[in-house]
């Protein structure tokens, strides 16, 4: 649990009598004096857009947000939730993208973190290499992969050619585009999971490990029954952090497939769909509806995972 440490003294007693009045006031109200500016800043930038988006989702606004629009109640929600052509497939892709990418990232991340757990020579350099994809600008990374996966001139098919496999369509294929973007996500973000899990592993005490070894547990048994349960809260943090970003993935999809996520909308996730509705179709009412639903989905998944995290700690 978070180290909860509230100062034990009653407020105000620590100020010496010769402190000027304003300083005493500031001292007494420091809690909100410190916290409020940041909160006001964020809330100020969120509340108006959120209210506005919520409002637009109840209108038939299209073309321009300044054009006259009619209040249509929850009609947009009915329309969106019954749209099996674009909306639900986009939900499915968002879920598939996030879950599959997360699964690989956690499993691979765990494997690499375990390899890096015990110190060895050159470990520092491996860590540096791991950091590189993580900090690289996502749009630039998207462009890089677009060239690598180009069906005609890309490195990927070149390498396959060396080992005698025929060219693949990669990003250009109807069924291979989504897996390819998932691959890119895994490439860029597995390192993040590695670092988080490594931090978790390093903070574990050695005693349970030792005890289990003395009891004759095998390496796998020790991992399965000692390390993993102790590491579970960290794993959930990693899932939480990556999960939110995964649901919201945009830069890589935009850079590799452009707007609309390709001819068959093959990489069109909720974020890409909402973006297209706003900026390609100018359907502001529907777009706002999708955004509100999307927002609720994110909050819902976060809530589920946080409860999961609390559960894991008990």
């Amino acid at each position: 649990m978070a180290a909860v440490t509230t100062p034990t003294r009653p407020r105000g007693t620590s100020a010496t009598p010769d402190t000027p009045g304003w300083a005493r006031w500031a001292n007494d109200h420091r809690k909100w004096l410190f916290a409020a500016p940041a909160m006001v800043f964020v809330a100020g930038l969120i509340i108006f857009p959120l209210v506005w988006t919520g409002y637009l989702s109840l209108t038939d606004a299209e073309g321009s947000v300044r054009a006259e629009s009619e209040f249509v109640g929850f009609q947009n929600y009915v329309e969106v939730l019954s749209d099996t052509d674009r909306f639900w497939p986009a939900v499915g892709r968002t879920a598939a993208f996030t879950v599959v990418a997360l699964l690989f990232e956690v499993v691979l991340g765990m494997a690499v973190a375990l390899l890096l757990w015990r110190p060895f020579r050159g470990q520092k350099w491996v860590r540096v290499a791991i950091l590189m994809p993580l900090v690289a600008t996502p749009v630039a990374v998207g462009m890089m992969w677009r060239l690598i996966f180009d069906p005609n001139i890309g490195l990927a098919n070149q390498v396959l050619g060396w080992v005698g496999i025929g060219p693949q369509p990669w990003l250009a294929g109807q069924h291979s585009a989504l897996p390819t973007t998932i691959f890119i996500d895994i490439w860029q973000w597995t390192p993040m999971v590695v670092l988080i899990l490594l931090a978790g592993l390093t903070s574990l005490s050695d005693e349970p490990q030792e005890a289990a070894r003395i009891d004759g547990a095998s390496t796998w048994q020790r991992f399965r029954h000692v390390t993993l349960p102790l590491l579970m809260p960290t794993v959930i943090v990693a899932i939480l952090l990556r999960g939110i970003d995964g649901l919201k993935t945009f830069d890589i999809l935009y850079a590799t497939k452009g707007r609309g996520g390709g001819s068959f909308h093959e990489v069109e996730t909720l974020n890409v769909y909402a973006y297209g509705l706003s900026f390609d179709y100018n359907e502001y009412g529907i777009s706002s509806t999708v955004l509100i639903i999307f927002f609720l989905i994110i909050i819902g998944s976060m809530w589920a995972l946080t409860s999961g995290r609390k559960g894991a700690q008990r």
Partner: protein, 271 residues
Amino acid sequence: MKASPAYRIFRVVALAVVVIALLAPLLWMIAASFKTNVDIYDADKALVFSPTADNYANVLKQANYVQFIGNSLWVAFASTVLSLILGVPAAYSMSRFNMKKSALVVLMARVIPGVSLLVPWYYVFSNLQMVGGFGVLILSHMFVALPLVVYIMMSYFDSLPVELEEAALVDGLTHIGAFRRITLPLSVPGMATAGILSFIFSWNNFMFALVLSGAETKTLPVAIFDFVGYASIDWGGLMAAATVVTLPIMLIALFVQKYVVSGLTAGATKG
């Protein structure tokens, strides 16, 4: 515990594969940035080619990248500093007073889909006559950086023993005095971590800059698209531009590795 020789060999091989898989694409990008477009289109010249610096000359001179680098630096720097000024005291208060709900308000900024913010922001700021300059751009990047700063600093303050402040109070300092003279100097490493991280995220930000930057304020991630034309894609220029964008940030990460790692993993291991 001593690792068995078999395991050590396995570890070397496995890690070599990991490192190659992670670095090869980036090296390929850098290599491509030194090729002419004809060579890029020629599969036989995948690895062997005669390097040219033309793409970089093109990127830096014709495409005005020197200015965009300056823009990116300024926006990232200003939004980082402002986020620290707002975020560090907030994180302190939220950590010491255990203000979980308030912290959630700030962290909400990480959760909300950016698409829903763009049109309303632009509408508001253009009515306030604030668009076109660096102001809005910096504000929007602060929106990315501030939650990071708060999140990282909260976990840092959580780990800082409160006893030191209490001792200072006994010595007659006010709470604010204790924060300023004792806690702040002790949190320099935390602030460095938060600052570096928010710099990186601001530098990499694409969606906000795409819409809110103008001719004079365009940042690097947006400028990359200058090489995707209506009638041609200049792959060489594109890869050189991508390299120019990513290389500085990779170098930063290289030199201050420790801070970047502790920032990325902040709060992950506490209970």
